[in-house]
């Protein structure tokens, strides 16, 4: 796996939530009530024992604190930074019931896990070799969490990733004021240090290695496919320079140095979290006028309100109830978007046509699904582009398991981590009992 370049546009960003100093962490940790059967734990998709790891910060057992986190979620470092804690653990802190500021669980989790990385603490060893082998398709959080758990259970693992780097959206998509690409790569290396996880980057499944070949070589297959490219508005001029997918733009900013010197006005089309990220990132890169264009009202947008509030404080503009209907172009470049206002029933209102000028249009209206990659495999069910799995993460085809964005349509890193770990246990049961073939 390769490292990321040092020359990346994202390096201009500071942390939106800065790291705690030891003094700050201790003050906050001592506020925690150490609830029993705590609501914060129930709100965590990976069920991290939050009161316990916080108590261990208070007693200065930070090594143990980080272990409590990693025991449940091996991606605890990145999740500490990227989790929408306001709607998960922090949102369910009992202090909210009291009208007292909730415990800053994400920042405390970052404190312990950063310390573990700084001190290079490692906790886990590979289990005794079982002779079984598992292929993981895709190198994002779901596959990484699955692979680590599978190694602890003693199975050989091979990750197939089409990009040159691992980490999935943690590396290529996380807002840089939460985590930068190099930190994600560090996490991947730390995780891989358990040993025995073979990494094949630059290999596309099924184009270069097909499933028949994987089935021949491995006892089970985990699908951590993630999502595909941005959905593009089907309007005339879509192929011209000046318009691109938001996810593609973010990936470029995180991995390369972008040339944005001629960009003054940016339109971000969409109302989800990718749209808000793109808005905040464009502002952070110094682009002077960034406007979100959303067809609904502000309160109906699907992006997190706390993220949008932050975007507004950073200077974001918005055009609500506004639908793009065509691109404006000049000299082979996109120069703006023709729009029409929409009513509350999302119907276009006649006579409201107008043009929003732009040097750059970012489309954040969703990412394509990748279930079609496996649709030819007998037994595997898909629905709305998602791979269907049971409670254990198993697909309808024996030996095939799946997790992360390809089964949920695009949720959080923490969901992918939970899916990966869950599937690892199911894979373990499968290869150790039901045969997993002796091939």
């Amino acid at each position: 796996m390769s490292n990321v370049s040092d020359e990346r546009s994202e390096t201009v960003f500071d942390d939106f939530k800065p790291a705690y100093t030891p003094a700050q962490a201790k003050v906050e940790a001592n506020r925690c009530l150490y609830c029993h059967d705590a609501p914060c734990v129930k709100a965590c998709p990976t069920s991290i024992n939050i009161p316990e790891f916080i108590r261990k910060i208070a007693t200065e057992n930070v090594r143990g604190s980080a272990k409590t986190i990693f025991d449940q979620n091996i991606l605890g470092m990145s999740c500490a930074r990227v989790c929408p804690v306001e709607v998960l653990c922090v949102g369910d802190c009992v202090f909210n019931e009291m009208g007292v500021p909730p415990i800053q669980i994400g920042k405390l989790q970052r404190y312990s896990t950063d310390r573990a990385f700084d001190e290079q603490w490692t906790y886990y060893e590979a289990g005794p070799d079982t002779g079984k082998s598992v292929a993981l398709v895709g190198g994002g959080p779901a596959s990484l969490a699955a692979a680590h758990q599978l190694r602890r259970l003693g199975h050989a693992c091979t990750i197939y990733e089409k990009r040159p780097v691992l980490g999935g959206l943690n590396t290529t998509g996380v807002a840089p004021y939460k985590m930068k690409a190099d930190r994600s790569v560090q996490e991947v290396k730390w995780l891989l240090s358990i040993g025995g996880i073979e990494v094949k980057t630059g290999v596309s499944v099924p184009d270069e290695v097909d499933f028949a070949a994987l089935e021949k070589e491995h006892d089970a297959i985990f699908l951590g496919l993630g999502l595909g490219p941005d959905t593009i508005l089907d309007m005339a001029g879509k192929e011209l320079p000046g318009a691109q997918g938001a996810v593609e733009f973010i990936e470029g900013m995180k991995l390369e140095q972008l040339d944005l010197k001629d960009v003054k006005r940016v339109l971000v089309i969409g109302g989800g979290n990718t749209a808000i990220d793109a808005v905040r990132e464009a502002l952070g890169l110094g682009l002077p006028e960034v406007t979100m264009v959303y067809r609904g009202r502000e309160e109906k947008m699907s992006g997190y309100l706390h993220e949008w509030d932050a975007a507004k404080q950073e200077g974001a503009r918005a055009a609500w109830q506004t639908q793009p209907v065509g691109f404006e172009q000049q000299g082979g470049r996109i120069t703006g978007v023709k729009c029409q206002k929409m009513d509350d029933d999302k119907k276009l209102i006649g006579g409201t046509e107008h043009v929003l000028p732009a040097d750059l249009v970012l489309l954040a209206i969703g990412q394509s699904k990748l279930a079609h990659l496996v649709e030819g495999l007998e037994g595997i069910e898909t629905k709305w582009g998602r791979v269907i799995v049971d409670e254990a993460g198993a697909t309808g085809r024996a030996g095939y398991y799946a997790g992360g964005d390809c089964i949920n349509g695009g949720k959080e890193v923490v969901n992918a981590a939970a899916d990966g770990k869950r599937a690892a246990h199911a894979i373990h049961d499968y290869v150790m009992t039901k045969g997993g073939s002796d091939a």
């Binding site: 003094a23 150490y34 108590r55 261990k56 200065e60 057992n61 143990g64 272990k67």
Partner: protein, 424 residues
């Protein structure tokens, strides 16, 4: 991986963390859950003639937003039938053969001691703890601290127990005495295999000022109870160390009193405890606290390169000295790190009103970082104690050119003391 195995007077447990004889160790079901959580041993809630308790039973010191800095109780020994307790002790021991189960006992007559000890030993328990410490309810009946406060009685009953017991006998001492040492020596003289201390301190936890009744309130009255919790730790540490450093005292100690986490436990072990017993923090937070205690102790031992628990027992005892042997020429002064200072000026007011008036406002009234007059600073630590910012105020050693000299040496005329500071 360091070895946490604890050996207290022949009572072996996988780690030094025991539940103290108290409500968390009231029944087999509780103790088995505690062992599952990681506790290494448990001292069963004291057995004797079953009693009846009152309501309410507990009180707490609430201080600056903390609910249980100190705690007290007026609960007595077990109120459950003896047969039930003995049956459960045997069950626990059978299911958890590697954990330590110690039976706490408190009865009156020699015959009663003989009988209850035999029945206790028959359960397969690992040891006995004689409760000579309870300072409320039982002492008025001639038991508990009434025994622990009389060395002769203590020694005699201990010798009965030793006569009848085939398993190790610990004597649990009361802190409600002027000097703990004669009481520890009395237990030793009676043949005790070890002592555990401290039991609770006679106390009134507070007063209900609306109803004009002390707490905990039992209708219109209250009574003195036993004080415990984090606040009593310094008293317990002193009594533990006082015995540990006495050359005449040479049986193991099980430390008790205000242990809330691994750090507290390490303090007891360094001052001579082979095991530590916990009650109040479990009552306030549950058995689950032991996970951090085990991890924290392990990490500490690894960092300090102690391979086994015995290697660290008592390691701070030699440094517990008489005042007269302290080096009077050792000098420290306070240094304030201006980069870390947040300008609360708690150090300034503390020094001005509570110490030696050597911390002053900066000359520029807009600067809130105080200034230490090192020529007047006596190195008392008060400013460092009140400072809310870790490592902002440090007490820095001053090289004053004087060779070490104690008060005892100065009185004997064999050493020269540096001039006094701050004594105008």
């Amino acid at each position: 991986m360091p070895d946490l195995t604890s050996n207290t007077a022949g009572i072996i447990s996988p780690n030094p963390f025991w539940l103290a004889s108290a409500p968390p160790a009231n029944s087999g079901g509780q103790i088995m859950r505690a062992f599952d959580a990681g506790w290494g041993g448990a001292v069963w809630k004291t057995l004797g003639q079953p009693i009846q308790n009152v309501s309410s039973r507990f009180g707490a010191v609430r201080w600056r937003g903390h609910n249980g800095m100190g705690f007290n109780n007026i609960e007595l020994i077990t109120d459950r039938p003896l047969e039930t307790n003995f049956r459960e002790i045997a069950e626990v021991k059978k299911k958890y053969p590697k954990h330590a189960v110690i039976v706490s006992l408190m009865v009156e007559t020699k015959e009663e001691w003989k009988d209850i000890i035999k029945r206790s030993v028959d359960t397969g328990a690992d040891g006995l703890e004689l409760n000579f410490g309870c300072p409320h309810g039982m002492c008025e009946r001639g038991m508990g601290s009434a025994v622990g406060q009389e060395p002769k009685v203590n020694e005699e009953i201990t010798s009965w127990a030793k006569e009848y017991s085939s398993i190790p006998v610990l004597v649990k001492l009361t802190p409600n005495v002027g000097d703990i040492v004669p009481h520890g020596l009395a237990a030793q003289a009676g043949g005790a295999d070890g002592v555990s201390l401290i039991n609770t301190i006679k106390s009134i936890i507070g007063v209900d000022i609306d109803n004009l009744v002390p707490e905990p309130r039992v209708d219109g009255k209250s009574t003195n109870g036993g004080y415990c919790g984090a606040a009593v730790r310094p008293i317990a540490l002193h009594m533990c160390a006082a015995l540990a450093r006495d050359p005449r005292f040479n049986v193991p100690i099980s430390g008790i009193g205000g242990v809330t986490n691994w750090r507290d436990a390490v303090e007891f072990i360094l001052l001579g405890s082979s095991s530590v017993q916990v009650c109040t923090e479990v009552m306030l937070r549950g058995y689950r606290i032991v996970e951090d205690m085990i991890e924290g102790l392990e990490t500490y031992m690894r960092e300090k390169r102690f391979e086994k628990l015995d290697d660290m027992v008592g390691k701070a005892v030699p440094a517990y000295s008489e005042w007269g042997d302290l080096d009077m020429n050792y000098e420290t002064v306070a240094k304030i790190d201006g980069d870390k200072c947040i300008g609360c000026q708690l150090c300034l007011v503390a020094c001005h009103d509570g110490a030696h008036q050597c911390i002053h406002p900066a000359e520029d009234a807009k600067v809130r970082i105080p200034v230490v007059d090192e020529s007047e600073c006596v190195g008392c630590n008060l400013c460092q104690i009140v400072c809310p910012v870790p490592d902002c105020i440090s007490m820095v050693e001053v090289d004053n050119g004087y060779v070490p000299a104690s008060w005892n040496e100065a009185v004997a005329g064999t050493a020269k003391l540096r001039p006094k500071k701050g004594a105008h």
